[in-house]
């Protein structure tokens, strides 16, 4: 019997396996940031241990860094302490770090791919739950806790029980005007926030094959939001083209050897998944969330659902509570929901393609009165490239704020937060209560919907603008 892509990558990384024990997996790349690493380094220090492979480790500052005045000292004392600690740890242990102001600084899941360090067939871990982003390259990538961060720093391995495998078969093609974000939001609503629990999933099908690397990263990024441990996509010509010429991509004979291996990373025709599900892309329209978890979503053309329409009592209670928190009325058309803030950014939708799309929609238009639009590029390089293309001018001419790179309002650890009761349309990945600021209300949207919403002031698609 053949193997799935997931099994091929997994099996290639088993250092030790024994009955009744988790597999010991080798980790090809360990990404580190300021929030989940301090105790891990402290643990190494108190045990007298070193970082085993500094050459497979890379740190960046992103989660609670400011997006304005980055040349000044960080004002928030906790952020400052965490950033200073990461810098000191990187120095002491010899770990590569991209600090605020550095040209390769940015959200941890944006910079790995951008540098060409994320490649097919790898294992990638980071103390962050959206690590599955790197799965877009055909890598097994997942988030870990602080003790595990310490374990990987010390040993470059991680004991892991082998998860089950699932295929997500996306049939049909994405209609014009819909994006990868709409697809993944619809998938999460279809499967529920726990639908992927216990699985590593492979996204496949024509819509996925046609998608750019940016779109694939958006899809894999949100794997955790429906409970999957990781999500990946088989590498193909699109993947290789994206990688070729990037700073850390192989060259010459190494490139040929790498491509030969990468080409073998496909699920065999006779391989069997533990589970398969299907999503019809051709039926999709722009998709937004109305509730307080990413599985509470609906097409933009729909209305706020009646909790009574949910058959599962748990879902019904969750919907009731969500409507109360979100201050929404049953039957209210989603298009009539007014927002205060539009956030374009995060590791879900903070890449150049996302900024281009948003800019193309606000170009020649104005952000609606009373609406704040925040553009936070995913990395310093995305920011520079956007400026080269003049996107910053388009955004500022429309009345949007053009910021420095970081996680920003995705999680509201830095000063970019919603005030209590404020409502946002956000291209990020979590609409949990208080995620973007205490009492803040979040609607997850694609960059296209975000931009159109900024112009009209209510949840909208670009097609609504003319």
């Amino acid at each position: 019997m053949g193997k799935t892509l997931i099994e091929k990558v997994w099996d290639d990384h088993v250092v030790h396996s024994a009955a009744g024990e988790p597999d010991l997996l080798y980790i090809d790349l360990h990404l580190v940031h300021e929030v989940t690493s301090p105790q891990a380094f402290d643990g190494l220090r108190s045990a007298g241990r070193q970082v085993r492979r500094t050459d497979l480790t890379m740190a960046t500052e992103d989660h609670n860094t400011p997006t304005i005045d980055i040349d000044k000292p960080i004002a928030d004392p906790v952020s400052k302490l965490q950033v200073d600690t990461l810098r000191a740890n990187a120095e002491e242990f010899g770990v590569r770090i991209h600090s605020l102001g550095d040209i390769d600084q940015g959200v941890v899941h944006i910079i790995g791919p951008q540098l060409g360090i994320t490649q097919p067939g790898m294992t990638v871990v980071c103390g962050d739950s959206h690590t599955a982003t790197h799965g877009a390259f055909g890598a097994i990538a997942f988030g870990i806790g602080t003790s595990e961060v310490e374990h990987v720093l010390a040993t470059q391995t991680l004991p892991q029980a082998k998860p089950k495998t699932m295929a997500v078969n996306v049939v049909g093609e994405l209609p014009e005007g819909t994006t990868a974000k709409d697809l993944v939001l619809a998938l999460i609503t279809q499967e529920g926030t726990g639908g992927g629990a216990g699985y590593i999933v492979e996204y496949r099908g024509p819509a996925i094959e046609k998608m750019s690397m940016e779109g694939r990263m958006t899809i894999c990024n949100m794997s955790i939001e429906w409970g999957a441990k990781a999500g990946l996509i088989a590498p193909d010509r699109t993947t290789f083209d994206y990688l070729q010429g990037r700073p850390h991509a192989p060259t010459g004979a190494d490139w040929d050897a790498a491509v030969e291996y990468w080409t073998s990373l496909r699920t065999d025709d006779d391989a069997v998944f533990d589970k398969e599900i299907t999503l019809d892309a051709s039926a999709l329209t722009p998709f937004v969330t109305w509730g307080t978890n990413p599985g509470q979503g609906a097409p933009l053309g729909a209305a706020v659902p009646d909790p009574a329409s949910f058959t599962d009592p748990v879902d019904r209670a969750a919907a009731e509570r969500a409507l109360e928190y979100m201050d929404l009325e049953v039957g209210q058309p989603l298009r009539e929901i007014k927002v205060d803030t539009v956030f374009v950014g995060s590791c879900t939708n903070g890449r150049i393609e996302d900024l281009r799309l948003a800019a193309s929609i606000v170009e020649g238009r104005k952000v609606a009165d009373g609406v704040r639009m925040l553009i936070v590029p995913g990395s310093a390089r995305v920011r520079l490239q956007a400026m080269d293309e003049g996107l910053d001018k388009i955004f500022t001419a429309a009345g949007a704020e053009w910021r420095e790179a970081g996680c920003s309002m995705c999680l509201g650890m830095n000063p970019d937060q919603l005030a209590p009761g404020e409502r946002s349309a956000s291209t990020s990945n979590r609409n949990f209560e208080g995620r973007q600021g205490k009492g803040g209300r979040t609607h997850l949207v694609s960059p296209a919907v975000a931009a159109a919403t900024a112009v009209t002031g209510t949840l909208s698609a670009p097609a609504d603008l003319n």
Binding site: Q39, D55, V78, M122, H151, H248, L384
Partner: protein, 203 residues
């Protein structure tokens, strides 16, 4: 992690049940960036009370906590274990513990000795009657000796072995270090490395 064989010290009787990890260390103390220094947050709400058992002069320097049932329930924070260790505790004796807390303790080298609640009551009485009473905990024999009385405690074989050998998760993995090195020597040379740093030549 240091090997745990036997430990002798005085005890603190904590006559409270359902002490969850928020009570062991409240969330406001979690902002620190080290695994050390959490002793000031340990039971911080109760320590405001001068009569709280930990504040009594005769309990200073104690290294064994005799806890009530269901100690360490609630949030999974690893800080609860660090706070107890930072304060100086080496052993927690009790009749029932929160699962995650017990597993976190095993990983960090804090011995959780499970005995019947009757034995807990007897230990409370003994150490209340004589705060200077020395308890000796023998991990290999799974015994606690207190004033001539010997009681047996429970611990699973795997955790006992790990503590006796001084193996934390990392230590356990490093027993396979030859396999890790062998794997590394087989890795293709074109696999990406973060060092030396390469910077894009264009922008």
């Amino acid at each position: 992690m240091d090997k745990f064989t036997t430990h002798t010290g005085t005890a603190v009787p904590l006559r409270r049940s359902n002490v969850d990890t928020d009570q062991i260390i409240p969330a406001v103390y979690l902002k620190r960036v080290t695994k050390s220094g959490f002793e000031d947050g340990l039971f911080s709400a109760w320590r405001q009370d001068p009569d709280f058992v930990l504040n009594q002069p005769e309990r200073q320097g104690a290294t064994i906590l005799v806890a009530g049932p269901d100690f360490g329930t609630g949030s999974s924070r690893e800080h609860a274990v660090w706070a107890l260790q930072n304060y100086g505790f080496k052993v927690i004796i009790g009749s029932r513990f929160g699962d995650i807390f017990r597993s976190n303790s095993g990983k960090a080298g804090l011995l959780i000795a499970v005995v019947d609640q009757d034995e807990v009551e007897q230990l409370w009485q003994a150490t209340e009657a004589d705060p200077a009473l020395q308890l000796t905990v023998d991990l290999k024999e799974r015994t606690i000796t207190a004033g001539g009385r010997v009681i047996t405690f429970q611990i699973d074989d795997y955790t006992q072995w790990r503590l006796l050998e001084g193996l934390d998760d990392i230590g356990l993995t490093l027993r396979h270090e030859d396999k890790i090195s062998a794997y590394e020597s087989r890795r293709p040379s074109w696999k990406p490395a973060t060092l030396p740093i390469k910077v894009a030549s264009d922008s």
